[in-house]
Amino acid sequence: MGYFGKVLSGFGSLLTGMRITFSQFAKTFFGRKNVTLQYPKEQPKLAPAFRSAIKLIRFEETGTHDCVACKACERICPSYCIKLSGGKVEGIKKKRVAEFEMDFSLCSLCGLCIDACPTDTLEYSKVYEEAGYNRDWRVDLVAEFREYEAEFVEKQRVIEEKAATAKKAKAEAAKKAKEAKKAKEAEKAKEAEAEAADTAEKPDTAEKPPALEAKPAKADAPAKAEVPTAEVPTAEAPKS
């Protein structure tokens, strides 16, 4: 490839380049297709996993959040942007958060607080136009839940009372069952003495009903502490 060959092949490569840019030009100009998103007019489609500032989840069952002010998020936060306080609330056993101040201008959206949360009451919000006129961007996350708080406390109190009575009942039932069992065993022993073949069936049938009664009560109590249900009838059914 001599001098002219070089010039010609160089020229050819330039023409190839121009062909490519023209094809792109044609795609936009004649094909009316461009890749721009006209932002304020069109909104971007947010991914389901989109991470923005955190917020407290409003659980459907209770109509409010489930923050128990354990401060796990405050401790894990690498930016030290969470400040919360709270604790014992009059009337109920459960601890509740009183203040949950979050400085979004510091938050790095790492999600460690969400991982750390024992009651899973934190999630990412879908706010993406995060802009403001100053740097002070401290948000009280529980603000929107305040008005529900009294209602929730009342409901929770009722639930806890019921749970307490249920527990009492369960304890009594267990006591009774124990006594019954003892009685049965005594009986069984007596019967065993009398008749060796009949013993297998009888204690089984006698033991079952109290066991059934005790089990749901036991399983329900912690479940309710985590996700307290507003409408109790379904939960009440096995107890009554």
């Binding site: 092949s9 160089g10 020229f11 490569s13 330039l14 190839t16 380049g17 490519i20 840019t21 792109q24 890749v35 991914a47 389901p48 996993a49 989109f50 991470r51 894990i76 936060c77 690498p78 930016s79 790095s108 959206l109 790492c110 999600g111 460690l112 991982d115 990412y124």
Partner: protein, 378 residues
């Protein structure tokens, strides 16, 4: 960083021919906040002195004041262009120290995420490199492609740049069929586009004139400076941490380590383009072989205490060998965490590589080694 003209930059020998030019940190083509103090003789660079430190954020100090988990969000901010690789690399280091088992599915997801991030980083480099050479259009084409990767990663990690996707033992979120389908579609797209870039850019006579035999880094020089990554492979050394010290499941995948011997800007260009192809190959295999399973271990400790001792783990970032030297003292706060970043070593070779080049080449060479300033300053 105050003295505008250091004593050695003043005209030498009294002939008044050498003058100093201060490029950056505010300059259209200085990547991030790099500042170059150039001694010029006409258009020829007599001496180049990089001045760094404008985005120093004390990551190493922060690591000594946070527990291991809290340092996690920092990792993807060391090099914001391949944040995923750094993030997952840090997770892998802690996992190796503590002996945490990572599920097979999480390993595959990590590989896919890593390689997608590598492609996006290389695409960004491609665009900005062309921008440095005055070609504006390829920049937008490559950003269009990169946008697709960001969208794909956004879908699963929830953010576009500073991912914080890894957790010790796995990843935060599982991938679904849609993600895999989109990734497969993207691979087809990027392969087609690479053909286009080849015609538009790599074969272009102007680019070839600008790149061939410009900024040659010899093998000896690269080794002495500890240059790693594509810049080292363009200088004829087959060294890729993924191959040399396989980590994070890379030993299961079949890929080549591209290598060229010219050591010039064009070689570095071609290495990165071939690396995009290799990454595509890895992702393809990972998508094919991704098993079902959990993405995080069921039971995890609350605190990750580093046993007393010294540890060094490296990963291959988009720019080269990223090493973490961790010293543990039995608590969950590292006594020392040194980040050995590739751009730091790569840029330290620049004064020698730039001497004797033209002013316009300076931009091309600094662009071709692909420095990311926050990674240098840390």
């Amino acid at each position: 960083m105050t003295n505008a003209v250091p004593p050695e930059a003043t005209p030498g020998g009294g002939d008044g021919e050498v003058y100093s030019l201060n490029m950056g940190p505010q300059h259209p083509s200085m990547h991030g906040v790099l500042r170059l103090l150039l001694d010029l003789k006409g258009e020829e660079v007599v001496k180049a002195k990089p001045v760094v430190g404008y985005s120093h954020r004390a990551h190493e100090k922060m690591a000594e004041n946070r527990n291991t988990l809290q340092f996690l969000p920092n990792t993807s901010r060391i090099d914001y262009l391949s944040g995923m690789i750094y993030n997952l690399g840090y997770c892998q280091a802690i996992e190796k120290i503590l002996g945490i088992e990572v599920s097979e599915r999480a390993v595959y997801i990590r590989v896919i995420a890593n390689e997608l991030n590598r492609i996006s980083s290389h695409l960004l480099w491609f665009g900005t490199f062309l921008l440095d050479l005055g070609g504006i259009t390829p920049f937008l084409y490559s950003f269009d492609d990169r946008e697709e990767i960001l969208d794909i990663l956004d879908q699963v990690t929830g953010s576009r740049l500073t991912y914080c996707y890894g957790r010790f033992g796995g990843v935060t979120m599982d991938v679904d069929e849609d993600f895999l389908a989109r990734t497969t579609a993207f691979l087809a797209r990027i392969r087609e586009r690479l053909g286009m870039y080849d015609d538009l850019v790599a074969k272009n006579v102007i680019l070839r004139e600008r790149c061939i035999n410009v900024g040659v880094i010899s093998t000896e020089m690269a080794k002495s400076y500890g240059v790693t990554g594509p810049s080292l492979r363009a200088s004829g050394v087959v060294y890729d941490v993924r191959r040399a010290e396989p980590y994070g499941g890379y030993e299961k995948f079949d890929f080549d380590v591209p290598v060229l011997h010219e050591g010039d800007t064009m070689a570095r260009f071609h290495i990165r383009i071939s690396e995009i192809e290799e990454s595509c190959k890895i992702i393809e295999q990972a998508i094919k072989g991704i098993p079902e399973g959990a993405i995080l271990p069921k039971k995890m400790p609350k605190r990750f205490k580093i046993p007393e001792g010294e540890y060094y783990f490296a990963v291959e970032s988009a720019r080269g060998h990223f090493g973490m030297y961790i010293v543990g003292d039995g608590t969950d706060v590292p006594a020392k965490l040194k980040l050995r970043t590739p751009s730091f070593s790569n840029l330290s070779a620049m004064p020698e590589a730039l001497a004797g080049t033209m002013l316009a080449d300076t931009i091309a060479i600094v662009g071709s080694i692909d420095v990311v300033m926050p990674e240098i300053d840390r």
